[in-house]
Symmetry: C2
Subunit: 290 residues, 2 copies
């Protein structure tokens, strides 16, 4: 009887391991910024296995031409599709702005971007009907947030500002440094005179700077973390399509991949996610267009 | 030339009127509670035409047997399906708890309930991993919130409490009365000793009482308005399925139907929605089971 039970347990464990390798949620980003989305997913969707790919070697995406960002995004997507993901999150505003529609049209699993969730949350939060957006040059130039917000609410005033230096500060793990504080103040100065009550952090790297952004803008301005909002969309679609994972009997081993230095990735990820041991591997996507 | 322009304008206006009658979003509730969802929809989705049906004559649903609530919900659904709705929102927790799965399985348009959005928002908000739920007897008895929350996050502590007297207070337009304050304090007393930081208003009537609920529970407890969260899900699905309305060139005339007194409905709706002239009609659903 005891032996039978053990066999049963072993079988269950094997099933669990197999199941946990199926149907993960994939996240892609130009670097570590998408970890802000992962952090929310760990909190809101603790049953889900997550696989993350950060293209740190080619970060930042913000200043690159749209065609190149689309190509890089396809390379990351192809890498994760081989890992049996059931949903793909483009956890990067720049990539969402230029590549979401194309990728969504061509892959068979649900694909979620970060711009619509951020736009929706801003419309929900604003009382003054005036919303600010900060993002990379690529995101701001694409006007993707303006288009999304105005298509929903044509009377909303939308002000956007590119903050091209923020991503590098985060990727070099200097978010807590005095230089970060100076840079934030200098970059956001044009927004201080505006009447906005809601500011979209339109780049998944920016929440790592949110304490100093909040301090500079003042507590009356609500910061919208587009990544955190994206997890609500992911959860909605998992439920709607009936593909949410059941509670797991084993602890999940999430997988992290970077095209850059695993050490640097580990430092930032451990600090941000408050997890010590992460399963991080270096990968090579393409050497053609770095 | 001028004549032609006028003709063109007239044609556009006719098209707009025709279009505005197609593809509305339908909302059903046991009474006026679902107006808390409508209020958020007016804010977050100003391009969408809304059609609302409140079954005030048979309110409250909370104490009724599940079979009867399912029957009433089907009667309301059938009424709205004839009005060309593109999406149905069951803006009532009691009806969502017992009828959502069945209705979703049998109708061809997307159907959204209020329990999953409320559950997701609570998991997002709680820092202590302890969530309270207040609702009708029917909702609490169904354990629908517990099931939803624990299936997503098995370690979350969930405490629920039925507050059967709240709906009548709201439906009789006494939300601002001293008796409402006393009743809230008396009903919520068992929750005060709990360690929760998040409380789901698990009935769409309750947000009309939220100032006094917040005052009694204290500002450290975050109240989750399940209705407001539901509009985020509606918006997500409209975008995902590509059926969101474009900005309208004419002002929308939303439609409101009640099985009870249009006068009483008008008083509550005008106050809550801050709209003076509402298009409210009395309807008769079924006289068999009132």
């Amino acid at each position: 009887m005891e032996k039978g039970d053990n066999k049963g347990n072993l079988k269950k464990e094997i099933e669990d391991v197999l199941m946990s390798n199926l149907g993960s949620i994939g996240f892609i980003d130009s670097g570590v910024g998408g970890l802000t989305v992962v952090k929310e997913a760990l909190k809101q969707l603790p049953n889900e296995k997550l696989i993350y790919l950060g293209d740190t070697a080619r970060c930042p995406y913000g200043p690159r031409p749209a065609e190149q960002v689309i190509q890089f995004t396809w390379e990351m997507t192809a890498f994760l599709l081989k890992k049996n993901i059931k949903m793909l999150v483009i956890a990067c505003n720049t990539a969402t702005a230029v590549a979401l529609d194309e990728i969504r049209a061509k892959v068979s699993i649900p694909v979620v971007g970060v711009i619509l969730p951020g736009s929706r949350a801003a419309l929900k939060a604003t009382q003054k009907n005036e919303v600010g957006i900060i993002g990379t040059v690529g995101t701001v130039k694409s006007q993707a947030y303006q288009t999304a917000i105005l298509s929903k609410s044509p009377t909303t005033k939308v002000i956007s500002l590119a903050c091209p230096k923020f991503v590098s500060i985060v990727e070099s793990n200097e978010s807590h440094s005095p230089i970060a504080k100076m840079l934030v103040a200098e970059s956001l100065k044009p927004l201080k005179k505006e009447n906005l009550d809601t500011l979209i952090l339109g780049c998944t790297h920016y929440p790592l700077l949110s304490p100093i952004i909040q301090a500079y803008m003042g507590t009356e301005v609500k910061l919208i973390d587009s990544g955190a909002e994206t997890v609500s969309e992911v959860s909605t679609l998992l439920d709607y399509f009936g593909i949410a994972a059941a509670p797991q009997r084993i602890s999940l081993t999430h997988e992290f991949y970077t095209t850059g230095s695993p050490k640097m990735f580990q430092d930032i990820a451990s600090d941000w996610l408050q997890l010590e041991k992460l399963n991080i591997k270096k990968v090579y996507l393409s050497t053609l267009s770095q």
